[in-house]
Symmetry: C2
Subunit: 266 residues, 2 copies
């Protein structure tokens, strides 16, 4: 409990503000979330700088490499070296990466051959495949996970400045809060992979919207169900439909919208 409090304090801080309310100004204090750059290197080569909440850097870096398709499992990782204060993470791999530059670019040549607009911006080399999953969930358990995430989202309650995601199934419940929507998912994936947690039977719960990139990240680690209080995009749904992933949105107060693969809910 003490540790949790300490961890929270490391990710937000005090800021002096002027509060204006009904035309009256007052000096006050507010708590705001910290935001730090983490630069990820692979075998000494700079890959990306992620702007994030300053905790779980190793989970974030490993999760990023997995969810962006650079590596497929923790067995490919030889060494991890993190300088927390400087925001530097170096991940050593057994096999060098062949392509580190173009992960934010789309492969025009191959996409045209494929003729699938929805897969335009997925680099061919790191293609995702449909899940071979018959995993099912109960509506009741999903509501429970959502409630639990809301209760445990301490940093959000204090600062209003973070997103939150959780991985859940039965008694397993792991959660991360981060200023970046994608970071919460990468941290979960990194945590899962580093701790040998089965991901293919889990539900991924999100505070934010479900975009195509979130679906692709989930598909890379075989997560069969995405659950959000917020909205999905059409491209996310088209991909999820193709990839055998269930997407549920607008899950609020005993009501939810099932957008894809509704058979997975009982």
């Amino acid at each position: 409990m003490k540790n949790d409090l300490k961890k929270q304090e490391a990710i937000y801080t005090d800021w002096e503000i002027v509060k204006v309310s009904q035309d009256i100004s007052q000096s006050k204090h507010d708590l705001v979330v910290k935001e730090k750059p983490l630069t990820v290197f692979v075998d000494g080569v700079e890959i990306v700088t992620l702007i994030c909440s300053p905790e779980a850097y190793i989970e974030l870096g490993v999760g990023f490499l997995i969810s962006e398709g650079f590596i497929n499992s923790r067995n490919e990782i030889k060494a991890l070296s993190c300088k927390q204060e400087e925001g530097l993470l170096d991940i050593g791999l057994y096999k060098p990466l062949s392509n580190t530059g173009g992960f934010l670019r789309r492969n025009i040549a191959s996409c045209c051959g494929k003729g699938r607009t929805s897969l335009y911006f997925i680099n061919d080399a790191r293609q995702v495949r449909p899940l071979d999953s018959g995993e099912m969930f109960e509506t009741k358990e999903l509501t429970m996970y959502l409630d639990r995430m809301e209760i445990q989202a301490e940093v959000f309650k204090i600062t209003g400045g973070v997103h939150c995601s959780a991985l859940a199934k039965d008694s397993t419940f792991v959660m991360f809060e981060d200023i970046g929507r994608h970071n919460t998912v990468d941290k979960l994936i990194g945590y899962g992979v580093l701790n040998n947690i089965e991901l293919a039977d889990k539900c991924l719960i999100l505070s934010g919207r479900i975009s195509s990139e979130i679906v692709i990240k989930a598909a890379r680690v075989q997560i069969p169900l995405l659950l959000s209080r917020s909205a999905p995009t059409e491209l996310a749904l088209t991909l999820a439909d193709d990839l055998n992933i269930s997407v549920i949105g607008f899950a609020r107060q005993g009501s939810l919208n099932i957008y894809t693969h509704s058979w997975r809910l009982t």
Copy 2:
């Protein structure tokens, strides 16, 4: 009005869902936002693929180049060629870009020399400078801009799946909705630059959180005030403090928090 409706329809679409409410399942229809990749080329060289709402591609591409510091004004642009359907935009410049690869990486060497954590991830070559601005705003007008944005956020009302930003001052009010928080700002900046709209006297209103990247984008075009219903991050505030930008958050129902440069409000 008709055009507006058509535009909206181009950025969302119909999706068949199963709605579960109080244990009762029903087939229904829902409206979801579209999400498309736009690949930006500069003189034929691929720069980045932005995932966005499929409208205002030229504004987005030009705004991105400006707000990321690749170019400083519309006078540097020689030609614009957009293939809307394929999501391809080529921007021709009079002077070739020297560095197109590393905009998502931070300049470790120079940051250490500078010893400023908060500027770590700003590439030296595209450094931002503090605003020389004495521009002031009234609390009353800010509330009016916020109300106007809420009223005009049609796509959000219909789909719940977009962010929204606006540029406002007196009778000028420009607004964009987009699935990406950064895209709304880039589209506004692109629109402003392409239409010769003065930006240095405007207020930038945001539906989403104020992160450091948003402050840097604003600083590049000399926008002196950022106003959001949501929270800022500490790094955003540190930068805004240094850059002479006023940040106002949690602006809701006649109440707001002024985090930096409160002198700008009367």
